[in-house]
Amino acid sequence: MRKIEVLILTGALTFGLMACGKSTAVNTEVVDAAVVEDISEEETEDIQEEVPEEEIPLADPSVDLDLTAMSSTMIYAEVSNMMMEPLEYAGKTVKMEGICGTYQDPDTGKMYYACVIQDATQCCSQGLEFVLDEDKYSVEDYPAQGDEIEVKGTFATYEENGGQYLTMLDSQLIDK
C-alpha cells in the first residue's frame, strides 16, 4: 500500500511539473546608442500554462549572423560576446530584432539609434547601434523610440571623441 501511495504521489508531482510559466517584458526607456548601457523596466507579463517553447524562425542565409533565429538567452550572450570581442565580428552582416532606443548627444546634437535586447531575467539590456544606408533611407525613415524593429547591417567599429564604439553600418530596416 505504501508503494502505491508513492506511485500516486509521483503521478501527481509529474502532473504538477508539467505546468510552467513564461513571462515577457517590454522595455521602453532611452538608451545610449553608442555605448552599451543597461536599463531595466518591466511593463507587461504574459503567462502561458505550458512549458515555454520559443517559436524561433530558421536562420536567414543572406546574413552571417542572424540573431532573430536564436533564443533570447543566446541573443544576449552573442551580443555580449560581440561587445567583448568586436574584432572577431568586424565585417560580418548581422540581423537582429528588438526595441529601438535613441540618444541625442547634448553637445553635438547628433542622434544615435540602437536596437535593444534584454536578457532572460529581464533585468539587463544591451543595444547595438545601427546607421541606416544613406542611399536608401533619409533621416525621417529612422524609427521612433520604443518601436519594435528588425534591422540588418554590417558590424563595424569606429572611433569618436577618443572612444571606440560598435555599430551596424549600411543597415536596412526589415518590415515585420
Binding site: 511539473l17 531595466s40 533564443s71 538567452t73 543566446m74 560576446n81 532572460a120
Partner: protein, 276 residues
C-alpha cells in the same frame, strides 16, 4: 536538433558547456562532504562573501577581479570551516553572520560607488547568473578549467582523508590524521568552487548546486563512494541538460540548472522511497 547543432557551433556555447560541467562536477564532490558535515548553507554564505569581494573589486576598477574575490572568499571559508566542529561560533550562526554582512556591504559599496548606469541590473545578473556562463572570455575559461582540474585532483588524491574527517573528526584526530589541515583544505577548495560556480548559477543559487546532487544521491545510494559517484554524475547531467534547455528555450541559465537539479532530486527521492 538542428538548432542545437547550430548553437554548438558558437565557441562561447562550447566553453559554457565545458566550464559548466566542470563546475558542476567539482561542486557535487564537495557537496557530499559539506552536507554530511552539516555545512549545507555554506555555499550561500561564501557566495555572498564573494559578492562583497566582487563589489570591492568593481569599486577599485580592477580588470581581473579574481585577485580580490578568490583570496577574500578563501579567507572567509577558512574562518568558517578551519576549526570544524569545535569553533566558538557554531556553523549556522557564523555563516549567517558573514553572509549577510558581506552581502549588505557589497550592495552598499556598489550603490555608493556605482561603476555602471544600472547597478540593480548588474547586481541581479551576479545574483542569478542569467547569462554569465555564456559570456566567459578565453582567459576566464582557462582559469576555470585549471582551477576545476586542481580541485578534482586534490579530491581524488585526498579522498580517504576527506572521508575520515567528514564522518568523525575526533576519531580521525585520534588516529593521527591532521584534521585541521584537511579542514583547511576543504575550506580552500570550497571557496574556489563557490567563486567558479558564481559564473554558472549566480550567488543566490549556488547552494542548490552543492546540496541537490548530494541529497539526490543519498536518497538512492547508501555508501559514501556510491553517493560521491552518483552525485557527480547527476550534477554533470543536470548542468548539461540545464544549459541546453536554457539556450534552446531562452530561459536564465542558473535557475534552469537548479530547476533540473530539483527534478532530479524529486525523482531520486521517489525511487528511494519505492526501494524502501
Amino acid at each position: 536538433m538542428e538548432k542545437l547543432i547550430m548553437y554548438l557551433g558558437f565557441p562561447f556555447v562550447r566553453y559554457a558547456l565545458i566550464v559548466g560541467v566542470l563546475i558542476a562536477l567539482c561542486s557535487s564532490l564537495l557537496g557530499v562532504t559539506l552536507v554530511l558535515k552539516r555545512y549545507s548553507y555554506i555555499g550561500d554564505g561564501l557566495s555572498h562573501v564573494a559578492f562583497g569581494a566582487l563589489a570591492i573589486a568593481t569599486v577599485l576598477n580592477l580588470t581581473n577581479k579574481m585577485i580580490i574575490i578568490l583570496p577574500l572568499t578563501i579567507l572567509a571559508a577558512i574562518l568558517l570551516l578551519k576549526n570544524g566542529n569545535n569553533s566558538k561560533v557554531k556553523g549556522d550562526a557564523a555563516i549567517a553572520m558573514i553572509s549577510v554582512g558581506a552581502l549588505a556591504f557589497g550592495y552598499l559599496l556598489m550603490n555608493v560607488f556605482p561603476s555602471s548606469a544600472n547597478v540593480s541590473g548588474d547586481v541581479c545578473s551576479t545574483l542569478f547568473g542569467s547569462t554569465s556562463i555564456l559570456t566567459l572570455t578565453k582567459e576566464e575559461v582557462i582559469i576555470c578549467g585549471i582551477l576545476s582540474v586542481c580541485v578534482l585532483v586534490v579530491f581524488v588524491l585526498f579522498y580517504n582523508r576527506i572521508f575520515a574527517v567528514t564522518f568523525d573528526e575526533n576519531f580521525a584526530n585520534a588516529v593521527g590524521t591532521k584534521v585541521n589541515f584537511y579542514n583547511l583544505l576543504i575550506a580552500t577548495i570550497t571557496a574556489v568552487i563557490i567563486v567558479l560556480a558564481m559564473n554558472l548559477v549566480g550567488s543566490l543559487l549556488i547552494s542548490a548546486l552543492v546540496i541537490f546532487p548530494a541529497l539526490s544521491a543519498m536518497s538512492v545510494i547508501k555508501s559514501f563512494r556510491g553517493v560521491t559517484i552518483f552525485s557527480a554524475a547527476s550534477s554533470v547531467i543536470c548542468a548539461f541538460i540545464g544549459i541546453i534547455i536554457s539556450i534552446l528555450g531562452g530561459t536564465p541559465v542558473g535557475s534552469t540548472i537548479v530547476a533540473v537539479d530539483v527534478v532530479m532530486f524529486l525523482i531520486c527521492f521517489v525511487i528511494g522511497k519505492v526501494k524502501g
